[in-house]
């Protein structure tokens, strides 16, 4: 079900100290990347409340990119590890809700890694493009009636979650 006209909408959450600066650097260096990512600046990836991700996905985003400082390099010493823990559990919960875990990605990018930021953003857009639209924002409120025939495959939460190194 690939749709050639599908342009993913992606919300990116960036850390004020590393990845937001990396995106600034990508700008200063005029690196070109996919225009589908819209950024929100947080003070730290540790500020990332899973609610933000759920709000974005339920509100029409096709993917969410979370970026933080490399492990061991957090400007608040170790809060990016806390973001990592949350992210891993959040992905499991999202999987249980039938959302491809690849739609939420955690990327480490330091303030110096403008090129990495740009490349990751572009790569993520392509990954989401392959997955297709999420369409949660357009999901109707459940009024539609139902025919009782075909059972689908039963969705179970999977514990196989991919993790960025």
């Amino acid at each position: 079900m690939t749709d050639d006209t599908f342009e993913p909408t992606i919300i990116g959450f960036t850390c004020n100290w590393c990845s937001y600066r990396a995106s600034d650097l990508a700008g200063t260096a005029r690196m070109k990347y996919a225009p589908n990512v819209r950024l929100i600046r947080l003070m730290c990836s540790g500020r990332l409340d899973p609610t933000f991700v759920l709000r974005a996905l339920s509100g029409g985003a096709d993917g969410v990119m979370i970026t933080g400082c490399h492990p061991g390099e957090c400007h608040y010493i170790e809060q990016n590890y806390k973001a990592l823990r949350r992210f891993l559990l959040l992905r499991r919960v999202l999987t249980g809700l039938g959302i491809e875990p690849e739609r939420v990605k955690l990327v480490w990018a330091s303030a110096a890694e403008g090129a990495k930021f740009a490349a990751e953003a572009t790569a993520f857009v392509e990954e989401i493009r392959k997955l297709g639209p999420l369409n949660w924002g357009k999901a109707d409120s459940g009024q539609q009636t139902v025919d009782h025939e075909e059972p689908s495959t039963v969705h179970r939460p999977s514990s196989e979650v991919e993790v960025p190194a």
């Binding site: 409340d49 899973p50 759920l54 919960v93 459940g142 009024q143 539609q144 059972p151 993790v163």
Partner: protein, 327 residues
């Protein structure tokens, strides 16, 4: 003339009705102060009687159960029209509760499971049909919606009373309050308030001792022996929903030696209950590598069910993707 009172039972187990009866002699106050006009479980009344009432003529309606089919939806809208105060009564009406977990599957699967499992005696593979022609005319049964919805997703709700079911003493207190309001002795809380509950979470009422928590392993309560009866259950490695669950139950489950499962829903002002539990559980994990963290998370075998047991239908995502996609 006494003000009018109604109570309705939509998609739910009936426990809420039992809880009302459990208020003992307080139930007599209802009769003494109200004219009960509609309460299918307690008295005979027809939908058309309700339809015939004047709009806004019922002072108080306690609506329990969530919206699973078109009949539920019809009555919800009807009672909304006829009532001054519509209370989402019990966890099902407030946030979907256990029936809401059905939103993890497409409705076709649910019906299939109900009519075609190994324990179901259905030799001819007969499935219900929503309409059927008989010589007397066409018969209808209610049609299932794609997903279950809490009351507020269908109609405007004045007050919320969570709990599975709400504690009887709180029901009594609410009845007292409304009686006082009717007599002009008290004022109503602001619209949209959650009533008959505490401001904080279950931990606030839990007498167990707690420390800074660092968990190396999540486990089930039956797998730890012995359970320390005085120490925080989460600290012992059992995913207890208490930290994120609204207080008001007096920490009944933890007091009885079991983890909180979250029936009172989120605390005041929280947008998504499951997200609060995700951060609660991940915050106590004592590991830094993805491998270690994943290993610890394996101790929560059904994370989605764990964090959304009572709240899925009322959550931001509301349902599994398959429930939206599949008809």
């Amino acid at each position: 003339m006494k003000p009018k009172f109604a109570m309705y039972w939509a998609a739910s187990c009936g426990g809420c009705e039992i809880a009302v009866l459990n208020t003992h002699e307080k139930i007599l106050d209802v009769d003494a102060n109200f004219d009960v006009v509609f309460w299918p479980v307690a008295m005979d009344a027809k939908y058309k009687d309700v339809e015939a009432m004047e709009d806004g003529s019922i002072l108080l309606t306690l609506f329990n159960g969530s919206i699973r089919n078109d009949e539920n939806e019809h009555i919800a809208k009807l009672l909304r029209r006829k009532s001054k105060l519509l209370v989402a009564f019990g966890s099902c009406a407030c946030e979907g509760c256990i029936p809401g977990l059905a939103n993890l599957s497409p409705v076709g699967d649910i019906v299939h499971t109900a009519f075609n499992t190994i324990t179901t005696d259905n030799p001819h593979g007969i499935y219900p049909r929503t309409s059927y022609d008989v010589p007397e005319g066409e018969l209808h049964i209610p049609t299932l919606a794609k997903a279950l919805r809490p009351l507020e997703q269908v109609v405007d709700v004045d007050y919320y009373m969570p709990g599975c079911p709400p504690e009887s003493h709180q029901i009594a207190a609410v009845i007292d309050l409304v009686v006082k309001v009717v007599k002009g002795e008290a004022e109503l809380p602001p619209k949209g308030a959650t009533i008959g509950v505490g401001d904080s979470t279950v931990c606030d009422e839990c007498p167990r001792a707690r420390n800074v928590k660092m968990i190396k392993e999540f486990t089930r309560i039956q797998d730890i022996a012995p359970v320390d009866p005085t120490l925080c259950i989460l600290e012992q490695g059992v995913p207890c929903n208490g930290p994120a669950t609204r207080s008001g139950c007096n920490a009944r489950c933890p007091q009885a030696g079991a983890q909180c499962i979250g029936c009172y829903g989120p605390a005041e002002g929280v947008m998504d209950y499951g997200a609060r539990l995700i951060t609660a559980f991940s915050s106590v994990i004592d590991a830094t590598t993805p491998e270690e963290i994943d290993h610890i998370l394996d101790g929560i075998p059904d994370p989605t069910g764990q964090v959304y047991r009572f709240n899925l239908a009322g959550s931001l995502m509301k349902a599994n993707k398959s429930a939206w996609e599949k008809a």
